[in-house]
Structure formats: structure tokens, C-alpha cells
């Protein structure tokens, strides 16, 4: 599937699932459990400007790319002693313009967040003792932009091709992620799995059977 520039897609099941979906997928990224968000991605927007691959809202946590060859930048909104704190974590690792297996993971026990490009660690951040991932109301994730188009700011649209997306409540190793991608090796920790083969004009089917469909933003 190609996410077109200016047309980000959304993962906000509680908004459109009428109580049918399971797993509270947005909450997965707020520190109560480990997580892995993994995607096989090929960047299409060529620019030296900042572009957003994905962004969790309303308490922003997102992965951007910048410069000509797509260097990575992880932005974290943290809660430090009750105060909001921003972290901007830059990487020399380049995503380029070929397919890469990009993974964003969190280990609760080790308090580590990391970004992997294929099996190479690109960014790693250890939360300090007084830092927590911030928690927001009805968390949701945008793909291909940093904000909803109607808001008109921090949009940073990015077009890319995507043929695999997985969201798990576990910290998965590269080999595990690879196996899930290749043989759709489902386990109970996986609450959203997408191979993009089954889709409509508005939804991408969640083959984990949790009804956490990716959907188009329409007005």
C-alpha cells in the first residue's frame, strides 16, 4: 500500500470500531507494557525537509526523517516529575529509498526505547528513573504525517510504501519480527498485524483478528 503525500492514515480503532475492536492498541505505547511497532517501509517523498513516518497523538511520540538520505529522528514526549519534557534523538543511520524493516520497541523492565533499521540499532534511549512515557486521552497513531490535515500545522507529510506493519505488546527480537513478517507467525501479544493484501478504499484489514483496522481520514 502507498500512503500518499498529504493523505495520512490513522489507527484509532476506538473512534470507528463501536466497541467491536479489542486490545486498546493506542494504550500500548504508553509504558504499561513492552511494545514493538514494526513496519517494512520504502520512503517515496524525496526531500531534505523533515517528514513524519508515524506519530502517536495527543501526547506526541513520533519518528521523523530528515536530510536528503532520510536520517532518523525520534521525538519523545515524556513526563518528568509531573512536568512535560521533550527529547529529540538524532541518528546517523539513513533509511534511504529502498525497503527497510523499521522497528520501534520498548522494554519496560530495562526502561529502554530503541529504533532498529533491519537488524541494526539506530537509536537507543534509556528512560531516567524520574521519566515516564506520557499518557494521553484516547491515544491514536497517524502514519504519513505528524498531525491531522485539518489542523494545518506540524503536518510534515511523508509518502511511503508499506507492505508489513505489526504492533505487539512484547519487545520482539529482529528474528521474531522477521518470522512474523515472513510467515505471519501470530501470537497473543500481537494486537495489530497488516500485510495490506486485504483492504478497501477506507480500511486496511487487521489479520490479527482484533479489528484494529487502519483507516483513511475522511471529512
Amino acid at each position: 500500500m502507498i500512503i500518499k503525500e498529504g493523505e495520512p492514515w490513522l489507527l484509532w480503532p476506538s473512534m470507528v470500531s463501536y466497541g467491536i475492536n479489542t486490545g486498546e492498541i493506542g494504550k500500548t505505547f504508553e509504558g504499561d507494557t513492552d511494545f514493538t511497532l514494526s513496519m517494512n517501509i520504502k520512503i517515496l517523498t524525496k526531500s531534505s525537509e523533515k517528514r513524519t513516518v508515524f506519530a502517536k497523538l495527543p501526547n506526541y511520540m513520533g519518528l521523523d526523517i530528515e536530510k536528503e538520505n532520510n536520517n532518523l529522528m525520534l521525538i519523545l514526549n515524556l513526563n518528568k516529575n509531573g512536568e512535560t519534557e521533550w527529547k529529540y534523538l538524532f541518528s546517523e543511520t539513513e533509511l534511504g529509498y529502498d525497503f527497510n524493516l523499521l522497528s520501534f520497541r520498548y522494554s519496560k523492565i530495562n526502561r529502554i526505547l530503541d529504533i532498529m533499521v533491519n537488524d541494526i540499532s539506530a537509536i537507543e534511549y534509556k528512560l531516567e528513573d524520574d521519566e515516564e512515557l506520557s499518557v494521553g486521552y484516547e491515544p491514536h497513531i497517524l502514519f504519513g504525517g505528524g498531525n491531522f490535515p485539518h489542523n494545518g500545522f506540524n503536518l510534515n507529510y511523508c509518502s511511503y510504501e508499506l507492505d508489513f506493519l505489526m504492533i505487539s505488546k512484547e519487545y520482539k527480537s529482529y528474528n521474531q519480527i522477521y518470522n512474523i513478517k515472513e510467515i505471519e507467525d501470530l501470537d497473543n501479544s500481537i494486537i495489530g498485524l497488516y500485510n495490506f493484501k486485504k483492504h478497501t478504499d477506507y480500511k486496511v484489514f487487521d489479520i490479527s483478528n482484533n479489528c484494529n483496522f487502519l483507516h483513511k481520514i475522511i471529512y
Binding site: M15, Y18, I20, Y202
Partner: protein
């Protein structure tokens, strides 16, 4: 949850009496083949005395019986027959249909007029549902002789089904004085309707023709011709016609031709066609005996293609035989929505799937299924959800929130508690029903529903 419109209606109604409801005046359902009527559709239908309609054809709605109920309402009492609403009002914080129906555009503007009127006065209803005859070419499993001439013929010849309650027994029909007048016979209720109609027509907001199969009733065509020929047509009228869309090509074409003229000559506000199907393919044909599933969809497509403003609503009666192929039905509806999408439809979508659960006969209820099988209902809701769009417009076409939620609600309802002994009896009755169905109608239940083989055998052979 409070809503300003409904709160205002409630305040206005309660200022007259705690049982006051405008629908007792403004809405009526008339079953002319049996001479019954009710206002609204919740109370049990009561007989229309022939002597009353001979004097006053509007007694099809304004019966003495109903006028006394209106008096009770105006005197601050709650008519017992309206207990459907009293149950809701006394046991929850929800608004009852008394509030909803009295807030409708066909009710609310008449509030003062009704308050000021004498309880003995006649009132022309604005929302009328009428069934002219029971003539029908189908005999759906959950229907009966009052609404289907095919059913009447069968039970007259072979009697009721061997269930605990003798389902659709001919004797009971006579006992309850519910034997329908055939279309070929003189019907004083239909005669009274036509006397009243010229006066009724000009006041109508909504007119819905049900049956039987309305396209097999000469009176349906008479209504359409009346609208076509009227020098000053009621342009505010919302016309709804039920049809099984399983009649001959000639009749479907005739309907399209007349509706096309009515629409193009701007003689009406909107036309909606209501139809029914409760499953997919052969399984749907088993439930709705007489249905040719492919022909049905050919007719759906023909109507939507030739009448680009019309919306078809499928009133689906979700029953024990529905879950196994319902996903395919949902997909078919979704494809049809996309195929016939345009910017002209009266109700935005070309087709809507309105799923309600079957309550009666209880031996065909989805509640009878084993819990594991009920997961299929949730799966049906998931399919609708996947094919959904979050916004209900002409431009974004998919299953709507309401279409999806109504299926999900059936799943929730199916899991609610049922008395074990009643469940056991109903399951046994289900097996007796399908066995008799196969014998009488030459069908093959287990071949059509292999998914229910284990269920069937367990119920039939286990004690």
C-alpha cells in the same frame, strides 16, 4: 442522556398527562385483510368494527376503542395497552417511543390542535402504514397465514407445524378471529379505505404499503395511479413500498415505470423501497420460501439502476439460520452500495442493511444457538465494521455505523440469559419445524445448513 428536543416534547406531553402520546392520533398501522389496526405499532392490534366504518370510513383509524384510549391520555391516565413505553419510562432513564414519536415532524406540529380537540373527534393520521391483503408468493419461515396467502393455503391443507405451540395452526387463526379476507373476496375495510383516501392523502406525511406482497395487490397500483393522476399531488408525501422483489419481471418493470413518472413529475418528496433478505444464496432461499436469490439481486440492481434517486432498505430478520452466510450478504450489500453510488439518492446510500433480531417464533431465534456458534454473529459485525466508513455521505460509500451496530447488538442480545427449560423446548421445536418443513416443502435442511448438522443431531437425539 438529555436531549433538548426530546426534553421539550416530554415537558409538553406531561403538561397534559403522564400517558399523553401524539402517536395515538398521528400514526396508524392498518391490516385491512384482517380488519385490525393499532396506534402506534406497539399495542396489540384491535378489531375495526364494520358498523363504525360504514358510518365513518376514518374509523379505520378513529375507532371508538382508540378514542377511549385517547380520552384516558387526555385525562392524565396511562392506557394499559401502551405498556411497552411505560416499561421503559418506569425502569430506565431512556426516552420512550412516546417521546420519540411525538417529536417526529409528522406529530409535533399537531400538538396544540390535538390538545384542544375533543376526544370524540376524528383525526387524520400523518404516518400511515397499510396492508391491503395477505396475497404473497412467498411463505417465509417466520411469517404466517395472516400475511401470506401461500402460508394460508399450506396450513389450511396440512394444519399447523408440530411444534409445542402448533406454529401457524389454521384452527388458532379461526379461534382468534384472524382469518384474512382474500383479495378475491369483498373486503369492507378496503372499501372504507378508498372512501377515506382522498381526504387522507392530502394530509399525509408518510405512507407505507406493506403486505402480503404489495406488488400482487391491485390496491397498491391504485395508490400509485392516484398519485400519478392527481391534479394537485401531495408533494410533501414520503412514500414507502415494501416488496419481496421476487415477483414477475412485468410487475417489477411496472413498479419502476410508475415510480419513475411519479419522481420525474415531482409528485412526491421521496420514495423508499423496503425489501427483505436474511442470509445469502441457498440459505436465504430456505428461510424465505419462494425466493430466487439471484433473481432478487437482479431486481435490486434493476431498481437502483433505473431509479437513481431511490434507496432500497433491506429489512433483515436475523434468525438462527442467518449467521452462517451473513458475511457474504454484508459483502454483497457493500458491493451494491459502491456500484450504485451517486449524489442523487433520497437517503444518500443506494442500499441499506437494517438488521433486527427475530423474537417470534421463538423456535427460530438466534438465541437457540450454542455459545460457540454465536461467535459467528460477532464475526458478522466485524465484517460490517471492516467494510464501514466513519462518515455517512454520498461520496464515501460503505457500511454505516448503524448497520454495523445493529448486528453487534444482536450478538450482545443473543448472549443474554434465557430460561433453560424454555431454551430446551424451543430447540426441540426448531428441529420439529425443519423436519416438517423438509417434508412439506421438499427442502433439505442438513444439505443447506451443514454448519448446523451437529446442533441438529444433538438436539434431536440427546435427551
Amino acid at each position: 442522556m438529555q436531549n433538548n428536543i426530546f426534553e421539550e416534547t416530554k415537558k409538553n406531553l406531561d403538561s397534559v398527562g403522564c400517558g399523553f402520546c401524539l402517536a395515538k392520533w398521528t400514526q396508524v398501522t392498518m391490516h385491512l385483510q384482517t380488519g385490525l389496526n393499532h396506534s402506534c405499532h406497539h399495542p396489540t392490534a384491535h378489531k375495526i368494527p364494520i358498523a363504525e366504518i360504514q358510518r365513518n370510513p376514518s374509523a379505520l383509524h378513529n375507532t371508538k376503542f382508540k378514542k377511549y384510549k385517547r380520552k384516558e391520555m387526555l385525562d392524565g391516565k396511562r392506557p394499559e395497552e401502551c405498556d411497552y413505553c411505560w416499561n421503559i419510562e418506569d425502569n430506565s432513564d431512556n426516552y420512550s417511543d412516546r417521546i420519540y414519536k411525538s417529536s417526529e415532524p409528522w406529530s409535533k406540529p399537531h400538538l396544540d390542535e390535538i390538545i384542544q380537540s375533543d376526544w370524540r373527534a376524528d383525526f387524520n393520521p400523518r404516518y400511515v402504514e397499510v396492508s391491503f391483503s395477505n396475497t404473497c408468493n412467498f411463505k417465509c419461515s417466520y411469517c404466517g397465514p395472516e400475511y401470506s396467502s401461500q402460508w394460508l393455503q399450506e396450513v389450511k391443507q396440512l394444519g399447523g407445524y408440530p411444534t409445542t405451540d402448533s406454529f401457524n395452526s389454521y384452527g388458532k387463526l379461526i379461534e382468534k378471529n384472524r382469518l384474512p379476507i382474500l383479495q378475491s373476496e369483498y373486503n369492507p375495510f378496503v372499501e372504507a379505505f378508498w372512501k377515506w383516501w382522498p381526504e387522507l392523502y392530502s394530509d399525509l406525511n408518510t405512507f407505507r404499503i406493506t403486505g402480503g406482497e404489495p406488488l400482487l395487490s391491485k390496491d397498491t397500483w391504485k395508490v400509485l395511479d392516484y398519485i400519478l393522476e392527481h391534479p394537485n399531488p401531495n408533494k410533501e408525501l414520503k412514500l414507502a413500498i415494501n416488496s419481496n422483489l421476487g415477483v414477475t419481471d412485468e410487475l417489477v418493470d411496472k413498479l419502476i415505470e410508475k415510480l419513475d413518472r411519479i419522481i420525474s413529475e415531482d409528485r412526491i418528496k421521496e420514495v423508499i423501497i423496503f425489501t427483505s433478505v436474511d442470509a445469502y444464496g441457498e440459505q436465504a432461499e430456505y428461510i424465505r420460501n419462494g425466493l430466487d436469490f439471484n433473481k432478487f439481486w437482479d431486481n435490486v440492481n434493476k431498481v437502483l439502476y433505473k431509479l437513481p434517486k431511490v434507496t432500497i432498505t433491506i429489512m433483515s430478520t436475523y434468525n438462527i439460520l442467518s449467521p452462517f452466510s451473513y458475511n457474504k450478504l454484508i459483502e454483497k450489500v457493500w458491493e451494491t452500495k459502491k456500484e450504485h453510488q451517486n449524489l442523487e439518492r433520497y437517503w444518500q446510500h443506494p442500499i441499506l442493511l437494517d438488521t433486527s433480531y427475530l423474537r417470534f417464533p421463538q423456535h427460530q431465534s438466534v438465541k437457540l444457538l450454542f455459545d460457540k456458534q454465536k461467535e459467528l454473529i460477532l464475526d458478522n459485525a466485524k465484517t460490517a465494521l471492516y467494510l464501514g466508513v466513519p462518515i455517512f455521505t454520498n461520496t464515501h460509500m460503505g457500511m454505516t455505523e448503524v448497520e454495523t451496530e445493529k448486528i453487534k447488538r444482536i450478538y450482545d442480545w443473543s448472549l443474554s440469559k434465557t430460561d433453560v427449560n424454555i431454551l430446551k423446548t424451543n430447540r426441540k421445536d426448531f428441529v420439529k419445524f425443519v423436519d416438517e418443513h423438509d417434508k412439506r416443502r421438499g427442502t433439505n435442511f442438513l444439505k443447506t445448513f451443514p454448519e448446523l448438522e451437529e446442533f441438529y443431531k444433538k438436539i434431536k437425539y440427546d435427551n
